[in-house]
Amino acid sequence: MKKKRSIKNREYAVIAYGFLGVFIAMSLYFAYYLTFEAEDFINNPYNARVSLFSENVIRGDVLSADGQVLATTEIAADGSETRSYPYGRVFAHAVGYNTNGKAGVELDGNFNMLRSHSFFLTRLINDFTDKKDQGDSVVTTLDASMQQAAYNAFGNYRGAVVAIEPSTGKILALMSKPDFDPAGIASQWDSLQSDSESSVLLNRATQGLYPPGSTFKILTALEYLHEGGSTEDAFNCEGTYTENGYTIHCYGNTAHGEEDLKGAFARSCNVAFSQTGLSLDLNKYRTLAENMLFNKDIPTKISNVKPSTFSLKKGDDPVLVMQTAIGQGDTLMTPLHGAIIAAAIDNEGVVMEPYIMDKIVNDNGDLVRPYFGETYGSIVSKEDAKKLKKLMRSVVTDGTGSALLSDNYKAYGKTGSAEYTSDKNATHSWFVGFANKDDKEVAVAVIMEGAGSGSSHAVPVARAMFDEYFKE
């Protein structure tokens, strides 16, 4: 009797367990969202709730990796709060601002700094006495001495510097000029907003789209090698090269004479590279560029990052091909992207996603939440990275980057002098590269708007960064 009944109810049990299963799955998803996804999801400018937290919490500090205070909240006797920035303009774009909108770490860590993980008894006492809790602090990956070195070496040019630790993706320095006084944003807001010519508030390091100039020869050389070329292939440079009614000039019309590809790369010969470009399969060239993150979202969690663009395709005008091969044409690249490419070549082709928030700590310095470098994946193969490293080393030993020769570390890189108007003499000064010594390594990208050649301006800034990083 009993057995018969259970058989009769089998279908009922199937439906009941089916529903139970679906609801358990939903509950698990709910728990998963609350535990793992919510924190990143809700840190969004559209979430008005976060600002409500500031009624009960004093906004936490922003600290450098070495413990320097980059931003803090000062409380006056009358209880009013002021955000202050001990380093002033030096970290302006990296740390950002917290009035008239938000930017930088002030934006990315907004939620974390408005939450308190102080000792629970302290918080309980605060509740009773109607006091605010001290918010958690964001410890960044920024190295105050590296940032300061970049700032000092850069001078009054416009442009940007990015320094990344290749093996982790930690952003060590992130500088953009012109800059601003982050504490004075509110009072200067109107003039900052109306000044469209210099775009002070634009973080050029992550959003500045520049023609990559000769730094793009890294990609052109790699594609040439992929299509059967060799670094020993010979070229002859007479300083200019005319094809299809268009003339390519080497910087300063220098004739490089007989040279192989390696030499052409080291001395940044436009003639050799425009010829190289004409021989390439443009669709494969484009695929290579896209594999190296052109036309793609840059893999990072920091806000306000623009993608670089590469538009060359099969059937385009040969003149455009020649220009693109030497980093002119329609190609645009951000300094952050340049640093990522350099870092990947140093890191055997593997990109570690750049990040700037290292961990969250409470007012006592106890860890609340760590962040880790995430692996994006390989953008060039290990062998290719090795070949590019050789080419980039030759730039330092035999070419435009010779100012980076040092006994203290081994530097690699590529300079660039990117034309941005029809005036051939006005060029942005570029450098992307890296240096290492034993286990220590750093990748940098430098761009100085309208400063001149890569070797004259960007290379000395890179040198200052490397010297600082590897100083005894």
Binding site: Y33, R49, L52
Partner: protein
């Protein structure tokens, strides 16, 4: 100090809710003695009252201080709130009395769950909107009156299984009317306006639909019965699709398949039907822009936060910012979520009362449909078995659609959370649904007595 009261209450309410949920599942365990389960139900009843009172203390204090201490308008508002609180307390007590004393055989677990869901709904509505809370109270009074005799009818009226075509005619007529003359609301036609009253016929027709299918399928003598049932069920679903009420179509469709499967014992019919439904949903997502919008909002609400994704994003902000413990009543911003009192009420509960509380609420809903399926297995008469299973499916799928939509587990379909959400049609139809199930629990008692007489 108000903040402190809110914070402490937040934790006590989570504790009460967690304890209640634990008891509700403990009582479900097999081999639990009747005495100990009776003890658990008593404790549950006390916990519902405790939670309700605790929540209202916070609401009353906030109302009193809303415009500054001692402000006359605040005092008046607090006095009115106090009256509402007491009236709701009495209503919940009456509901207990009806089922415990007049229907001795009714399921205590289900009464408790019904009161718990109503109490949570009352609390969050009083927090969100005085007008809606007041209206909901009157609707609840009407619902209690309207449904008080339903268990008796279910127990005594023996001809309910002979009215298949009557159910079908009313159902198709009602849905047809909505499809033709309904008013459009968020892209779907749901309501019929009768003067000052707006009703959502599909809320009631889904119950008739279960009765229709049970009448058709409880005694299959001829394969043609299945064809006819399928055809008429199909018309229901198509009318809902025509009114663009895809949430409703899903409820009706799945209910049909579940009942067909149970009546025939063929899993292939159920799975095939689900496959067909999925294909239909896929086609719908290509044809209807409002379906596309909801799918886009589900996939990546932040990418369309200015338009289609706004509601889901706000819901997730609310849930996420509240976190596991919640912000405490009045310390969140649930009013930022569009339609928060209806489809998205769960987000408001999770934000202010906490993720743990909200998770417990999901488990109370699970407990409800398990009770529905439980009675469907215990009862012997196949007609009533099918009724219980069908209503359990209706309740389960509706709860799943609304909760899943709010937390972005599935695209949002715009259905309400039974007994908790604001809205008369939803509230009254759910009360009817629970009352029918209680009638079945009473029937089981009759069945038991018969069995005892035989042996």
């Amino acid at each position: 100090m108000l903040h402190l009261l809110t914070t402490i209450s937040k934790f006590t309410m989570i504790f009460i809710m967690a304890l209640y949920t634990y008891f509700s599942f403990k009582a479900l365990m097999p081999r639990i003695s009747q005495e100990s389960s009776a003890g658990l139900y008593k404790k549950q009843t006390a916990l519902v009252m405790l939670l309700f009172i605790n929540g209202y203390i916070v609401i009353l204090m906030h109302t009193l201080y809303q415009n500054g201490e001692g402000e006359a308008s605040s005092v008046t508002a607090a006095q009115m709130m106090l009256v509402l609180f007491l009236a709701e307390l009495v209503l919940l007590r009456i509901l207990f009395i009806i089922y415990k004393y007049f229907y001795g055989a009714a399921s205590d677990a289900l009464v408790n769950n019904m009161c718990m869901l109503l109490a949570v709904g009352f609390l969050i509505l009083s927090r969100l909107s005085w007008d809606k809370a007041l209206r909901q109270f009157f609707l609840a009074v009407a619902a209690v009156i309207l449904t008080a005799l339903i268990p008796l009818f279910v127990r005594k009226l023996k001809f309910l299984n002979k009215l298949a075509y009557l159910y079908a005619i009313i159902g198709i007529g009602g849905l047809g009317l909505v499809a033709v003359a309904g008013s459009t609301d968020y892209g779907a036609k749901l309501n019929i306006s009768l003067g000052p009253v707006t009703i959502q016929p599909s809320e009631f027709i889904k119950i008739l639909f279960v009765f229709f299918l049970a009448s058709m399928l409880y005694n299959i003598k001829d394969i043609r019965q299945i064809y006819v049932a399928t055809a008429i069920a199909g018309i229901h679903v198509l009318l809902l699709v025509a009114a663009r009420d895809l949430g409703g179509a899903a409820i009706f469709g799945v209910t049909f398949l579940a009942m067909l499967y149970v009546a025939t014992g063929r899993l292939s019919l159920f799975l095939g039907g689900m496959g067909l439904g999925m294909a239909g949903a896929f086609v719908a997502s290509k044809i209807f822009t409002h379906v596309q919008n909801r799918i886009v909002a589900w996939k990546d609400p932040l990418s369309v936060i200015d338009s289609q994704g706004y509601q889901v994003a706000q819901s997730l902000f609310a849930i996420g910012t509240g976190g596991w413990m919640g912000s405490g009543l009045y310390e969140g911003m649930p009013e930022k979520i569009p339609v928060v009192t209806k489809d998205f009420i769960f987000a408001a509960i999770s934000e202010e009362m906490g993720g743990i509380f909200a998770l417990c609420l999901i488990f109370v809903c699970i407990n409800c449909f398990l009770m529905f399926f439980n009675i469907s297995m215990q009862i012997r008469d196949k007609f009533y078995k099918l009724i219980a299973l069908g209503l359990g499916t209706v309740y389960g799928i509706q709860t799943f659609l609304t909760l899943g939509g709010v937390i972005r587990f599935i695209p949002s379909t715009g259905v309400t959370l039974p007994l908790v959400s604001y809205g008369g049609s939803s509230l009254i139809s759910t009360m009817i649904l629970f009352a029918v199930i209680q009638g079945l629990y009473c029937l089981r008692e009759d069945q038991k007595r018969e069995e005892e007489e035989i042996y």
